[in-house]
Amino acid sequence: MTMLTLPAQPLPGIKPVPWRGMAWVTWRQHRATLISVPAVLGAIAVFLWIMGLKIHHDYAVLTACHPFDSNACQTLNINFNQTDWTTGNTVNILLHLVPPLIGVFAGAPVLARELETGTFRYAWTQGIGRARWTIAKLTLLALAITAVAGAFSQLYAWFFQPFLAQEDMTVYTATVFDMRGVDFAAWTLAAFSIGVFFGMLIRRIVPAMAATLGVYLGLALTTWGIRAHYPLALVTSKPVSLIFFNVSEPLVVATWYTRPGGQPASQSVVSQFLSNFHNGSRPTMTWTQGLAHYGLTQWTRYIPVSRFWPMQLFEGGWLLVFSVLAIAATVWLVRHRAA
């Protein structure tokens, strides 16, 4: 008789700890961030909505006013430019602080606090492993913060719409472009990623906050300078009006002049041509007549309004890549420079 024997059990492999546990962990440990960011932006959104209704109403009344030169209409115009625009301009400036504040207060402490208080020695010796712990936590926080910022900026875009036409702005005005579309969400994500990276690199909350603020501001200001050079510009030899800014104006990157053969025009000829349109003196010819008179062709590199979304996606795209790289670098640091 042979006894039936159970086949040898394969050695149990170590199944990883399920990701879903990290959802509760992230929620419990970052409740303050996950509640306060939506709460603060939500409160601002309510304010924007109430103010936005008034501004849109004022703007509708203003644009319906006829004739525009009448005293009544001019009073409305002045009121709008003073009262409503003061609100809009102040809100616009203050809201630029939201991404850096999220980077500083929500991003930088995530890992720096663990390292500063020593609790990383608890967190990173649990079965889940520190790489999964970091990836799950940063991904969840980044998604939540980015989603809230994205939703918020859509309301903001509606709130701000009347000012674009009324206050001599284009959709490419630096401080307007980065509050609308996907840009605000992308900048918020970038700020958060910069924060967590410096939190891990510096391992101290306050210095990491300072570094986050500095690097974010540097990046944002640099971007204002380079945005016009995104590879989305068109070149035209049709004269482009440069007199008034307006919501439907393109972003003009560069202007230059050539002679009939295609060689660059000499500076003196261009100066002579331009002098006809300077000093407020009444021009003796139109711009087109002037170009013909001096034998000049005007070339303009510009980004048309129709490229607003490609521009948004280009900037949002590189900010997304930047953020993913910053978070990947953070995870690398967690894995290799833990203690």
Binding site: I14, K15, P16, V17, G21, M22, W24, V25, R28, Q29, T117, G118, T119, F120, R121, Y122, A123, W124, T125, Q126, G127, I128, G129, W133, H336, R337, A338, A339
Partner: protein, 302 residues
């Protein structure tokens, strides 16, 4: 099976080595004590075994060959660190829930029962517990993970004598019930003398001596004799330390057993663990017994 095995293990911070050339083979199923003064490299060794710190040199494996920090190692090791073992702003209940979510196994029932026995309320913030209760909470969380190896870095430092006794008895019960291997560290041997089966003495980042406590005690003895003959006898024997007291001298020497001949004019005494540890700590540069052949006293006395 070795619960921790290191080979040429070293960690350098800047220019100074926190631990260097550490070769150890700590057997499983025992309480191993890591003893040495502050800054001896105890925490560094434990951090590397727990997978927190990446070695500068050498290797460390745990649980019979798993690389430290690997998923299998993390799954089987529970580590309670010095000073900050818990999140101070979380409640005890949240700490239980947190630990359960971060591990494959978590024995919620036994953890709650243990906390109830200890009178630690679940609703209290971990930061509001006394030092002893925080240490007990960290230990409870670690044991609820059903680890094969429990690493406790200076667990007793913040505890009063009564709490020390409670803490150690919890550890010993877990060992007896679940067969957990334990690695404990302390700067004071007296804390661990009663519980340690295996002893590692560290000083200045180097292992001074390591072995089974019984083997170490059997492998050493104190010879007492005339001070003028001390140097001559010390040179002939495998001497760890020479102590002079007036006309008498005490030599701590390695021995192959009680039948080892005693030099004429000298008397042999057994040595205490504390005396032995202190001798190795005070005699820097003296290599300890071979670490790997800890089960063979004859080799130890080479």
């Amino acid at each position: 099976m070795s619960i921790i095995e290191t080979s040429g293990l070293g960690k350098r911070y800047g220019k100074s080595w926190a631990l260097r050339d550490c070769t150890l083979e700590i057997p499983s199923g025992q309480v191993a004590a890591l003893v040495g003064p502050n800054g001896a490299g105890k925490s560094t060794l434990m951090n590397m075994a727990a997978g927190l710190t990446v070695p500068t040199a050498g290797t460390v494996t745990v649980l019979g060959g798993e690389p430290a920090g690997s998923p299998a190692a993390l799954d089987g090791i529970a580590f309670a660190a010095q000073d900050a073992p818990v999140y101070k702003n979380l409640s005890v209940r949240d700490m239980l829930h947190l630990t359960r979510n971060l591990n494959r196994r978590f024995d919620q029932r036994s953890a709650q029962a243990r906390l109830a026995d200890l009178g630690i309320p679940l609703g209290k913030k971990a930061g509001k517990l006394s030092g002893g209760q925080q240490a007990q909470l960290a230990l409870t969380l670690a044991l609820a993970r059903r680890p094969r190896l429990l690493i406790l870095d200076e667990p007793l430092a913040a505890l009063d004598p009564l709490a020390r006794q409670d803490f150690l008895s919890t550890v010993m019960t877990a060992m007896a019930d679940d067969g957990v291997s334990v690695l404990l560290s302390s700067h004071a041997l007296a804390d661990l003398e009663r519980v340690a089966d295996y002893l590692v003495v560290l000083s200045g980042g180097e292992v001074r001596v390591a072995g089974q406590v019984d083997d170490l005690l059997a492998g050493h003895r104190v010879l007492t004799g005339p001070a003028e003959a001390a140097d001559q006898s010390a040179a002939q024997l495998s001497t760890v330390q020479v102590k002079r007291a007036g006309a008498q001298a005490h030599l701590l020497v390695r021995t192959s057993g009680p039948d080892d001949p005693v030099p004429p004019g000298w008397e042999a005494y057994t040595v205490g663990l504390e005396e032995l540890t202190l001798a190795y700590l005070r005699a820097p540069g003296t290599p300890g017994p071979s670490l790997v052949q800890h089960t063979q006293p004859t080799e130890v006395a080479r």
